[in-house]
Every structure is written in structure tokens, then in C-alpha cells.
């Protein structure tokens, strides 16, 4: 194979990829929620990064003036760091794991959280004292109680996030704060959350714009309530092969 041939092939592939990225940007501008379906090695991460760069370059003043954040949810902390490196220091784009994101969204509603962990036996800690809970916190992901502070288990955060998503006022404030939510490897997302995103926001055509990036075939954590393929009339599908 000659070098020239490789180069021509590369140019062709790049042109094709750029076309898809341009399509994603067009969809972003339209305000519709969308799903980018990309098989293994199709350059999904590349697309996600291009999208983030585009948002950072074009939406900065729009979002910062309204004190809004774009969230980019990834599955691992390592992936969070990869994206963070590409962002400006004071960027309005927040790369985050779903747990950290959910916790940041719900932590200020302490009265709701305290009530939930006090009443619902599902949240009862195995260790700790019997003091009344006065604060709910999330640090290491162990569930225990100390001096009236109840620390949450990772999955507790997701469940409490769902509990709050069921509240209309929470959704209103949430949608105001996060006008655009990008989710990488969406197929592995916690299904109850995705169901609420679709039901409360996408289906009704209100709230944040969602961008799902992933490959429905690659669902790895099926046992852990992973959502798999997300389908809805109001989600534009962009295929990348």
C-alpha cells in the first residue's frame, strides 16, 4: 500500500466525519435533543470533543450571562479528566460523572433529602449512631451515619435524584441551570433517570436539550439497570459509522 493511497483514504474518511460533526452542530443549533449512534472505532469521542469545542467557542457569552452550565456526563472519572483538559479554566462546561452531577443538583434540597433518608427504610445505614439526621452528605460512597450526618451510598444519590426529578419545582430550577446536557456512553446510564429525562423533558418538548453519545450494542452493565437504546420521536438520530 502506497503512502499516497493511505492519505487519500484518510482525507475521504475525514471529510465524511466532518460532515457528521457538522450535522451534530446543526442539530445543536436547532435545539432538538439528539442521539449520536457510533459503532466501535467510529470516532464517537472525537465527535463529542468537537461538539464541546464548538459550544465553548460559540455559546460562552450566551450561557455565562445567564449563569447556566452545560454538563457533559461521562461514565468514569478518567473520562471526566480527559474532557476537563480540553476546557478553559473558568469554562461553563462541566464534565462530570452522573453521581457527581446528580449530587450537585440535589444537595441544596436538604430538607427533602433528610426526610427521604429518615422515612424510607431503603436508605437506612448499616453502621453509625442513632442521632436524628440533620444533614445528608455524599463523599466516599459509603453509607453510614455520624454526628447526625448521613453519608450516602453511590446509588442512593441516583435514587434521590430521581425522587427530586419527580418534583415540578426542582425540574424548573434544574432546567434553568442546565440548558444542555450531553451524555457519553448513554447506553450504560441508570434507566430510571433516563426515563425521567425523556418523560418530563424530551417528550414534552421543554427543559434541557439532551445529546446522547454512544452505541446501543455496547451496553455492558445490563444488570445494573442500564437503559440501553433510548428511542423517542423527539430525539433526532445521527449515525456515525
Amino acid at each position: 500500500m502506497s503512502g499516497k493511497y493511505i492519505s487519500a483514504n484518510y482525507d475521504l474518511a475525514k471529510a465524511e466525519a466532518d460532515k457528521v460533526d457538522a450535522q451534530i452542530v446543526e442539530t445543536l443549533k436547532s435545539g432538538h435533543s439528539f442521539r449520536v449512534e457510533a459503532g466501535a472505532g467510529a470516532g464517537k469521542t472525537y465527535s463529542l470533543n468537537r461538539v464541546i469545542e464548538w459550544i465553548q467557542a460559540n455559546k460562552w457569552s450566551d450561557f455565562t450571562r445567564k449563569k447556566q452550565n452545560v454538563v457533559c456526563i461521562t461514565y468514569t472519572n478518567a473520562a471526566v479528566n480527559v474532557i476537563a483538559e480540553r476546557l478553559a479554566k473558568d469554562s461553563f462546561i462541566l464534565p462530570s460523572t452522573i453521581h457527581a452531577f446528580a449530587w450537585n443538583a440535589i444537595r441544596q434540597y436538604q430538607s427533602v433529602l433528610i426526610e427521604a433518608v429518615t422515612i424510607n427504610p431503603d436508605y437506612q445505614p448499616d453502621e453509625g449512631d442513632f442521632n436524628q439526621v440533620t444533614e445528608v452528605a455524599y463523599t466516599l460512597g459509603h453509607r453510614y451515619k455520624e454526628n447526625g450526618i448521613q453519608y450516602l451510598y453511590h446509588d442512593d444519590v441516583l435514587k434521590l435524584f430521581c425522587l427530586l426529578l419527580d418534583n415540578a419545582k426542582f425540574r424548573r430550577v434544574f432546567a434553568d441551570k442546565y440548558p444542555l446536557i450531553l451524555i457519553d456512553e448513554y447506553q450504560d446510564s441508570y434507566k430510571p433517570i433516563i426515563d425521567r429525562f425523556v418523560g418530563f423533558f424530551i417528550a414534552k418538548g421543554i427543559g434541557p436539550q439532551f445529546g446522547f453519545f454512544g452505541d446501543a450494542w455496547q451496553t455492558i452493565y445490563q444488570s445494573n439497570k442500564a437503559c440501553g437504546k433510548i428511542e423517542h420521536d423527539k430525539i433526532d438520530v445521527i449515525k456515525k459509522d
Partner: protein, 591 residues
């Protein structure tokens, strides 16, 4: 060592200074951006649309640090014995001991609160203060608002530029860029040759190595730092430095620049906040007309900005010209009292007294009276009183009528308000609201039923002896109030009843009313008559005259007053004025 006070009890004993902010928001319109307010919304009740934010200034050090800071100066050998430096130690460490704590509070459950950062508060309420002590002109570099404004124009991206100046700024930038390059190139060439020629010790020699010189020249920096305002006089085409201009204009221009800088900052900060603007006494060095115009200008200026975002402005002023221009709803009246400063919301008064408010506001605006800034007020009938009262007050002081008080009425700040008996009563509720001691000097205005044209019975002005009642609305209002009758009661009030009023009857709260009383057997029914009555000799009146003779028949009341002051300087002051002034002199301002 025995612990007499727990740390928690100490915290409780140190008084907390706190301020509550209530911010209303709407949930209905999804496009209505909550922005910087959302961290403070900690409830999930859809019917609650107010956020409660509390900021406390309180003891912030923990027990250990507090102990470490203070022990050495307050305790000796385990006993409480503050030494001489104890107070200084406390003063020096004030900033460490006390601090701000910001809370978001759940309006439905005040126990539910959480600490927020000062940055979050500042994001919500970006504020800007134009202090009274502003350095005028552009002579100081630190305070150079013009310089910073121009720097801003240089640093801003094209999209951020105000379209009104964008073209000019772009042209200026281009010129500066070109000049930067040209000057740089030429100066480098010349300087290099200068250096090459002047360093003549042979090494490095010309064949081997050429020395180059570059100087960093930045013309834009020059423009940013060295631009000074000058004033070009319209006709002479002469340009004068800022320091040659009057303080009034300088002050106005300074405020304008500061406001523009504020506007730029607000634009950058965006729409999701509640910007606060504080302007302290803008009136300094401004003449009265300019003060009035300034207040109107400010409203317009802020209105222009508020298409993007609502700016809440706090303006403090000692200027009657500014205060009278403002709508009552926007005025908060600060009053000193022994218990501290009391703030009165004129909006609450305006809403409780919708009938009077228009009249009062119009009156204050038209007469430019300084009621807001006076310690005491005197309501008078007209020009004669206005001219004579200051002199009469002096006379009372000299005659020892005010006893031995340190600051007699003449040294107190009283406002004379020319408002006749027909309207004075409309002002009384307002005066009561402000809480200023007020003396009302009015006329008895006796009237009686007389046959008018066509035999109709009408009320006519008569001498006191023949009077049946009064036509003075304020006296009528007063008597009705004393009797507990409604304002619109129409039952006849006997003149004898009015004349018989005691000093107590004439006092209602902080207001006192006085009108002509009988002296030397006669009772005049205006100030002029009362003066003629007690100065009979000067007016060639005998001691056996009747009330009709007291009548003032001159054309000008002003002439009457000026004539008295200039030609009869030792005249006697009528009793009703004396007792009124004595009452007012004794009223305490601070309570």
C-alpha cells in the same frame, strides 16, 4: 481554671448584625432565567416564589483560636485580668474574630437553612458604589475612570463593543496598530545604527555580528494611561485641563463616567442577577437646578440600562431638590432617634393616605421646601409670617422666653412652610408619619351668617366679637379630631368653643396649633391685626377702640412686615405666636 461562660453562650451574647434579603421570582415562564438566584432556592414547593437570604456578621472564630488570640492579654496566672493592651488586641484582630456568614433559608421552614458562599451572594447582587468622597477630575491615576473606560474599549472583542462607538473604536485601533508597527520598525533601525556606531571597541565587529536593538513601544498603553479630559470652551476654541473647570461639572462628569463603567460591568455580568447601585450624596457642588436635572437624568440613564436587567439603586441625599423630585413610593426617610436610626417607608404612607398624597407631593415639588431635612416645622399662613418669624424668634430668645436652654429655637433647624389654614390639615398626617414636631400658626377666621345678594344667607368674615364659627378648615379639622368626630362631619363648631381651647386642646401628638387670642380686651383675626393690637402706639390706635379698628387696610402684607421690622424694631410679639414658639422650642428632636 473555672469556666464561667461556655463558648456557645458567648456567641449568643455577642450581638449578631444581620440583614435579610427577600427575592421574588417566577416559575411560570420557563424562559425567565433564575440564574444566580438558583443556589438560594432550597425548597421544592411550587407555590413558594420567594427566596429568603440572610447575611450575618458574627463571631466566627472557634473556641481554640479565640482562646489563643486573647488569653495572654486577658488572663494572668489563671485569673481574669485584662492588661492595657487587651483592648488593642481585640481591635487589631477584629477582622479575624468576626466575619460574614451567608445563609439560604427555606421560607416555609426557617429552621432549614444552609451556608452559602460570599461569592454566590455577590454573583446574585453585584454592587457598585459611588461614594460621596469621590476624587474629582482625572488627575489621579488610581481613580482614573476615563483611563479604565478607554482600556476597556481596547481590550473588548468586536462583538462586545457598543454599536454606537464600535466604528470609531475600530478606526482608532487600526491607527494605533499601524503606528505601533511603524514607530517600532523605525526606532529599531535608528537605535540599532546608533548602538552599532557608538559601541566602537571593535568586538563584535561588523563582519561577524550585527547588534540589534528592539524597544517595546506600545502606543495603546500610552493612550490608555495618558489620556486626560480637557474642556473645550464653545466659542473660544481653547482647550483647558480638567483642573480648570468648576467642581460642579467635574462632579457630574465623574459620576457619569462611573455610571458608564458600572453599565459596562453589568453588561458583562449578564442578566441573571440583581445589580445594586449605591450613590452617596450626588448633589455635592451642584447648583439646585442641576440637582433636580440630575435626579431626572439618573432615572433615564438607569431606564436605558434596565432593558437588559433591573438595577436597584440606593441614592442617599441631603438635597431637598433631589428628594422632592422622587416619587413618594421610592423615598425612605431616615431619622435619628435615641434608639438608633429609624427608616420610614413613604410608600406605606402613600398607600394608606391615597387622598392626600397627590396634594402633598405637588406642594413639596412646587415650593421646593426642605421638610424632609428639618428637625422641626412651622406651618404659616403667608408672606408676613415668613418675613417676621425669624425676627420674632430672635426677639423671644433675647427676651428670655425660651428659658435657659442651650440651643434655642433660633439655633435649631426648623423649616418654614407657607401653607394656609385651608390646606394645612392635609399635611398633618404626613407630619405625624415623619414624626417631626410641628407648629401650625394659623388665623382664627371668624365668620357669621349674613344676608348676601338676593337675601340669601351666607357666611361672611366678621370681627371676632361677632363671630359664630370659623371658616378655617384646619381649625375645624382639629376640633373634630379632638371630639372624635369623623373628618366629614358638618355639625357647627361654635367660635366660643374654639376661643376657649386650652393649651392641651391645642396639642395633638407632635403637632400644636395656635391662632389669634384676646389681648388688651380685643382679638384680631389675622397676624396683621394681632400685631396692630399689641403695638397700638406705633399704629396710632387708642386704648378705647373696638375690634373693627384693628383691621389692616394696607395693600401689601410684605410692606406691612418690612415696615414693622425697619421702623419699629422693638415691637411686641403677639401672645399666640409667643406661646407657639415656646411650645416648639421645648420639643425634643431625639426621642
Amino acid at each position: 481554671m473555672e469556666k464561667k461562660l461556655s463558648y456557645e453562650d458567648l456567641c449568643k451574647q455577642v450581638e449578631i448584625i444581620s440583614i435579610d434579603f427577600l427575592v421574588d421570582y417566577s416559575l411560570d415562564d420557563p424562559d425567565d432565567n433564575l440564574g444566580a438566584l438558583s443556589p438560594f432556592i432550597i425548597d421544592v414547593d411550587v407555590d413558594t416564589t420567594t427566596a429568603l437570604i440572610r447575611v450575618e456578621y458574627r463571631l466566627k472564630t472557634d473556641e481554640k483560636t479565640l482562646w489563643a488570640l486573647l488569653e495572654s492579654s486577658y488572663y494572668k496566672d489563671g485569673a481574669f485580668a485584662p492588661n492595657e493592651e487587651a483592648h488593642d488586641v481585640l481591635a487589631d484582630n477584629f477582622g479575624k474574630l468576626f466575619g460574614l456568614t451567608v445563609y439560604a433559608i427555606n421560607p416555609n421552614n426557617l429552621e432549614d437553612k444552609q451556608v452559602k458562599s460570599q461569592k454566590e451572594l455577590h454573583d446574585l447582587f453585584p454592587f457598585y458604589a459611588i461614594p460621596a468622597e469621590r476624587v474629582l477630575g482625572e488627575d489621579d491615576t488610581q481613580n482614573s475612570s476615563l483611563g479604565s473606560l478607554i482600556s476597556g474599549f481596547f481590550d473588548m472583542s468586536e462583538g462586545e463593543l457598543d454599536p454606537e462607538v464600535a466604528e470609531e473604536i475600530k478606526r482608532l485601533r487600526k491607527i494605533v496598530e499601524k503606528a505601533n508597527n511603524d514607530v517600532q520598525k523605525q526606532s529599531d533601525e535608528i537605535l540599532s545604527s546608533v548602538v552599532n556606531n557608538s559601541i566602537g571597541f571593535g568586538y563584535p565587529n561588523i563582519e561577524e555580528l550585527k547588534l540589534g536593538v528592539t524597544t517595546q513601544l506600545n502606543i495603546d498603553e500610552q493612550i490608555k494611561n495618558q489620556t486626560r479630559l480637557s474642556y473645550i470652551s464653545g466659542t473660544a476654541n481653547e482647550s483647558l485641563p480638567s483642573s480648570h473647570n468648576g467642581l460642579g461639572y467635574k462632579n457630574l462628569i465623574k459620576i457619569e463616567f462611573l455610571l458608564t463603567a458600572f453599565a459596562k460591568d453589568i453588561e458583562k455580568r449578564g442578566i441573571a442577577c440583581v445589580p445594586l447601585l449605591f450613590i452617596e450624596e450626588p448633589e455635592s457642588h451642584m447648583h439646585p437646578q442641576m440637582q433636580t436635572a440630575f435626579a431626572a437624568y439618573l432615572e433615564k440613564f438607569l431606564g436605558k440600562l434596565s432593558t437588559v436587567v433591573q438595577i436597584q439603586t440606593f441614592l442617599t441625599s441631603h438635597s431637598a431638590h433631589i428628594a422632592n423630585t422622587m416619587e413618594f413610593a421610592k423615598v425612605r426617610y431616615a431619622q435619628k432617634s435615641n434608639a438608633g436610626v429609624i427608616y420610614k417607608n413613604l410608600n406605606t404612607f402613600a398607600q394608606a393616605n391615597p387622598d392626600n398624597i397627590d396634594f402633598i407631593r405637588k406642594y413639596l415639588t412646587l415650593t421646593k421646601c426642605d421638610l424632609f431635612f428639618a428637625d422641626k416645622a412651622i406651618f404659616i399662613e403667608g408672606a408676613s409670617e415668613r418675613l417676621l418669624l425669624p425676627d420674632m424668634i430672635e426677639k423671644c430668645v433675647t427676651a428670655g422666653e425660651f428659658g435657659s436652654c442651650k440651643y434655642p429655637l433660633s439655633a435649631q433647624y426648623y423649616a418654614l412652610i407657607e401653607i394656609g389654614g385651608a390646606y394645612a390639615h392635609k399635611f398633618i398626617p404626613f407630619i405625624e408619619f415623619l414624626g417631626i414636631p410641628c407648629l401650625i400658626l394659623t388665623d382664627l377666621d371668624p365668620v357669621a351668617d349674613r344676608k348676601g345678594r338676593g337675601g340669601k344667607i351666607v357666611k361672611k368674615s366678621v370681627v371676632t366679637g361677632e363671630g359664630e364659627t370659623t371658616s378655617n378648615e384646619t381649625i375645624k379639622w382639629w376640633v373634630r379630631k379632638n371630639k372624635g368626630l369623623p373628618d366629614n362631619d358638618t355639625s357647627k363648631i361654635e367660635l366660643s368653643e374654639i376661643i376657649a381651647m386650652t393649651s392641651d386642646d391645642k396639642t395633638r401628638g407632635k403637632c400644636h396649633i395656635e391662632f389669634q387670642t384676646a389681648e388688651k380686651g380685643l382679638c384680631g383675626h389675622s397676624l396683621e391685626e394681632a400685631i396692630r393690637n399689641v403695638n397700638r402706639k406705633y399704629y396710632n390706635l387708642s386704648n378705647r377702640i373696638g375690634e373693627k379698628k384693628l383691621e389692616f387696610t394696607g395693600k401689601s402684607k410684605t410692606d406691612f412686615a418690612l415696615d414693622l421690622i425697619s421702623k419699629c424694631s422693638n415691637y411686641s410679639v403677639p401672645d399666640y405666636i409667643k406661646s407657639g414658639l415656646k411650645w416648639l422650642n421645648d420639643q425634643r428632636v431625639l426621642e
